[in-house]
């Protein structure tokens, strides 16, 4: 059972990843899949910006443009940002709390495979008649009207991948609450663990409304129901509510872990304890709570009435207060510290002003009467890209550099990293800063073209140039990753030299069981405390070396996800939908549709039954084996990573 010595063939590696329940390998799966979809969605964004580079452009047709903008938004939020954050949560959170794995390793794998097959299903739309074209919000009247299967792919793909996200969220809540090492009290948890906990809680409450909305849309479109069809007594505004009750917290689901990542990066490179830890925790929880109270600010122009608009305007403004607290705490962490400008820190330093800019425009839009002008204009496009790119993407890129040594036992190149940062960062501001003014000058969002001489030509051109620069930045980052594969292994602990939390106490490459003995946490920033006291061994331990209980691998999560994937095709080509009946969408015979539905879901359910009846209690790595593995790892490190 050695993690190093065992030689595997290529097929063996594939099988290993298909069946793995190891949080570190699932993190790599999330990272790879997330990067793939990030690249696809980024490419879609480039096509969009090339089309809008000059007025009256005919590079992309109107219909395709709507598909691109829908898939860009949907993919970036659901299939790129979410899995990439899950990658870091999987890789780092169990280490930060001193756990051997997550609470439900089987569910962890199931969550990934559901997400992955949902995402693949959604992307198959491009090859099977065209993608969804009603925007990532998919407002009901337009999405019901949309011919073909695009919207069906959206509904089913998100339903499947959403289930995966929900499962992962629950898993992290349980992991963080129950699997902390001795001494790791709640108020000693690192900020990234805290934000992962709060964000997972938001997932728990925010995804069910989306699931409900998608299910109603599913039966409306594919089985002839009328929840959103106003001509049959349905109501489209209910979709808007369901979507945004999910959609607004979704923003915080993504941005809170990003805050957490920066709260890890900044103290390390300022060589100073995070300023105002308890107020940071409080602010995180408050943002999470308020995040559920503000959804209708996306609907100021829907006509909810003055009182609703007034309440949601004030509630939205309130969110600025805890967010502001965080920004000041980060700056005060730097104040009095010793700042080393590495690539991760560069991203953190770039994040602060960018995110503040995105935050203040958010407050401007909270002013409902002003939002009547800003809503659905390019101003909002600028605003949320400042939050998402300036906040979340910078966190992802910075953390990739920051955590690469732990995840892969390799470092990303610093010089190339600095170059990448500047190209991406300048491109980002070039792209989105001018879009504020485009919006104020009357340009609506989601337009596939615009007439010349409305005062928008120059800024659109600048914006497109910036987008191309961002594209170059991403390519450089990918090159950096490729170079790192060939670089020398690090074989050490605490790569950055000033690590503070538990994950830096481990020597890379990590054994599959993480800590050979569960560490004893003696305060906030436990590894820092040990270093202060001159402990050369990393940590002190809460137990003697003993048997380690680990979970078994399983192929069932993969098979279960395939089941839902198959069933989704049964629903997609259902002959009972309005579009199918009207002849505007392909369908199959009732028998085949039912067979796919029942067969697919049946496969999933059979797997669940097998899982329930076959007790899988995992296995024990015996004490002698642990000692042996540690010895082999030490030799491997001593030889500089050669076997």
């Amino acid at each position: 059972m050695s993690s190093v010595a065992k030689k595997k063939g290529f097929g063996g590696h594939i099988w290993d990843y298909l069946t793995t329940v190891d949080h570190k390998k699932i993190a790599i799966l999330y990272l790879a899949a997330g990067t793939l979809f990030f690249a696809i969605a980024g490419f879609e964004a480039l096509l969009i910006r090339v089309q809008l580079m000059i007025p009256n452009n005919d590079f992309i047709s109107a219909g395709l443009f709507n598909e691109l903008l829908t898939m860009h938004g949907t993919t970036m939020l659901f299939l790129a940002a979410t899995p990439l954050l899950f990658a870091f949560m999987n890789a780092i959170v169990p280490l930060q709390i001193g756990a051997r794995d997550v609470a439900f390793p089987f569910l962890n794998a199931l969550g990934f495979w559901l997400f992955f097959f949902g995402a693949v299903f959604l992307h198959l739309s491009f090859f099977l008649g065209g993608g969804p074209d009603a925007g990532w919000t998919s407002y009901a009247s337009l999405s019901l009207y949309s011919p073909g299967h695009g919207i069906d792919f959206y509904v089913l793909g998100l339903q499947i991948s959403g289930a995966g996200t929900l499962i992962s969220g629950i898993n992290f809540i349980v992991t963080i609450i129950t699997m902390r090492a001795p001494g790791m009290t709640f108020m000693r948890m690192p900020l990234f663990t805290w934000t992962s906990l709060v964000s997972s809680t938001l997932i728990l409450f925010a995804f069910p409304p989306l699931t409900v909305g998608l299910f109603l849309m599913l039966v409306d479109r594919m089985f002839g129901a009328n929840f959103f069809d106003h001509t049959m007594g349905g109501n489209t505004i209910i979709w808007e509510h369901l979507f945004w009750i999910f959609g607004h917290p979704e923003v915080y689901i993504l941005v809170l872990p990003a805050f957490g990542l920066f709260s890890e990066i900044i103290p390390v490179f300022a060589r100073k304890r995070l300023f105002g830890y308890s107020s940071m925790v409080f602010a995180t929880i408050l943002i999470g709570f308020l995040g559920f109270m503000v959804w209708a600010h996306h609907m100021f122009t829907t006509g909810l009435g003055a009182t609703a608009n007034a309440i949601f305007a004030v509630a939205t403004m309130a969110i600025a207060v805890p967010t502001g607290m965080k920004v000041f705490n980060w700056i005060l962490t730097i104040w009095g510290g010793s700042v080393k400008v590495t690539v991760p820190m560069l991203y953190a330093l770039g994040f602060i002003p960018s995110f503040v800019a995105g935050g203040v425009t958010g407050v401007m839009q909270a002013a409902a009467p002003l939002d009547y002008q800003l809503h659905d204009s390019y101003f909002i496009v600028a605003h949320f890209h400042y939050v998402i790119v300036g906040g979340i993407v910078t966190a992802l890129f910075g953390s990739a550099h920051f955590y690469w040594p732990i995840m892969f036992n390799r470092a990303l190149n610093e010089k190339l990293g600095v170059l990448t940062f500047w190209i991406f960062f300048i491109g980002f501001h070039l792209t989105f800063f001018v879009q504020h003014f485009l919006g104020l000058m009357g340009m609506p969002r989601r337009v596939f073209t615009y007439m010349a001489d409305q005062g928008w030509d120059t800024f659109n051109f600048i914006s497109s140039i910036g987008a191309l620069m961002m594209g170059v930045g991403v390519i450089l980052l990918v090159i950096n990753v490729l170079i790192s594969i060939k670089s020398a292994p690090l074989n050490r602990r605490d790569y950055w030299g000033d690590g503070r939390s538990l994950e830096w106490a481990l020597e890379t490459p990590l054994p599959f069981y993480n800590f050979k003995q569960t560490p004893l946490v003696r305060g906030y920033d436990p590894y820092w405390i040990e270093k202060e006291e001159g402990n050369k061994e990393g940590m002190v331990y809460a137990e003697p070396i003993g048997d380690i209980h680990m979970p078994n691998n399983s192929i069932l999560p993969f098979v279960m996800s395939i089941g839902t994937f198959v069933a989704a095709f049964g629903a997609l080509y259902s002959p009972w939908g309005d579009q199918a009946k009207a002849g505007t969408a392909e369908s199959v015979s009732p028998g085949l549709s039912l067979a796919l539905l029942i067969g697919g879901l049946g496969l999933t359910i059979v797997c669940m039954i097998i899982r329930s009846f076959k007790d899988d209690l995992g296995y024990h790595v015996h004490k002698e084996e642990v000692v042996q593995i540690e010895k082999e790892l030490a030799e491997y490190r001593a030889k500089g990573g050669k076997r």
Partner: protein
Amino acid sequence: MMKGLKKWRLFALLSALTVFLSACGEEYISTLKPSGPVGQEQLNILILSVIIMALVVVVVSVIYLLAFIKFRRSKVGEDFMPKQVEGSHTLEVIWTVIPIVLLLILAVPTLTATYKFADVAAMDQVDEEGNKNALTVNVTAKLYWWEFEYPDLGIITAQELVVPTGEKVYFNLLAADVKHSFWIPAVGGKMDTNVDNLNKFYLQFDEESEGLKDGVFYGKCAELCGPSHALMDFKVKTLDPEAFDTWVAAMQATEGNVADQNSSDAGEAAFANSCLGCHAVSAVSGAGVGPNLTAFGDRNRVAGFLEHTTEETTNWIMDPEYYKPGNLMTGKYSVTEEEAQAIAEYLMTLSVED
């Protein structure tokens, strides 16, 4: 020195802002050059919020830059071990209270304006004879075009909204197929046209549109509604009240107008054969399937965005799908090139203005 730096930054930022706010955008479409009290008030809130937010940004940037410049490792030394402070209650209170105060300052005009803009009570007020005091326009958004009905005046038009200056004009907003959003950026903020329910709001137009570049304000659809969402433009002509009354009377006088199948004008005859089923040529005819064409000759654009020429009209009639993909006119009729040309020429003669 610190203070001087801060003041200088604030001044520079504000002046840069003023330049941006005053010089940006075209008068007929920019929210930064409003011509009406609604848009003006929204601009005022914009300026207030920009000032508050600029203040925040400047303060944050100054502290941030100072922190970064003063405490770089190259400056404090490689071996410097910072004091591991936990936090400061005083500071936490300060940066909680100050933002709250700033937000309260912004909240007051926000709430006032929210209620003010939603006040449409005057729509239903009548004078002693039972006539409505205020002008109401029923806006119906349809796939890629706009219908404007004046219920109290008994007339209907499409694509080009005509309104009097200097008074509040009330709107009933509805969508006929999918959701759209009604937006005249230079006059005031938008409101959605839902399929389920009527939305009501008002705007006030203070400037006559004649002096503008195209003689009209630009209106936009602001909610994604399908492939031709970007092309779902309309135009707004604002007239002084007297001219508006003249226009209304001329529109009302078109009552009973139809195109004659047996007309000696080949265009009129072809129009009567192929188009009249959907397009009325009388403004007193109720809602039609397609846009009402009574005032086609007076319009600024064809189909909302094409040059207003006979040639473009002909092109449009021959292949509307090419110009506005997804429109509902394509395939409902068949005309030859000559007929289309004749129809276009006929349409250009449909005018109620001098």
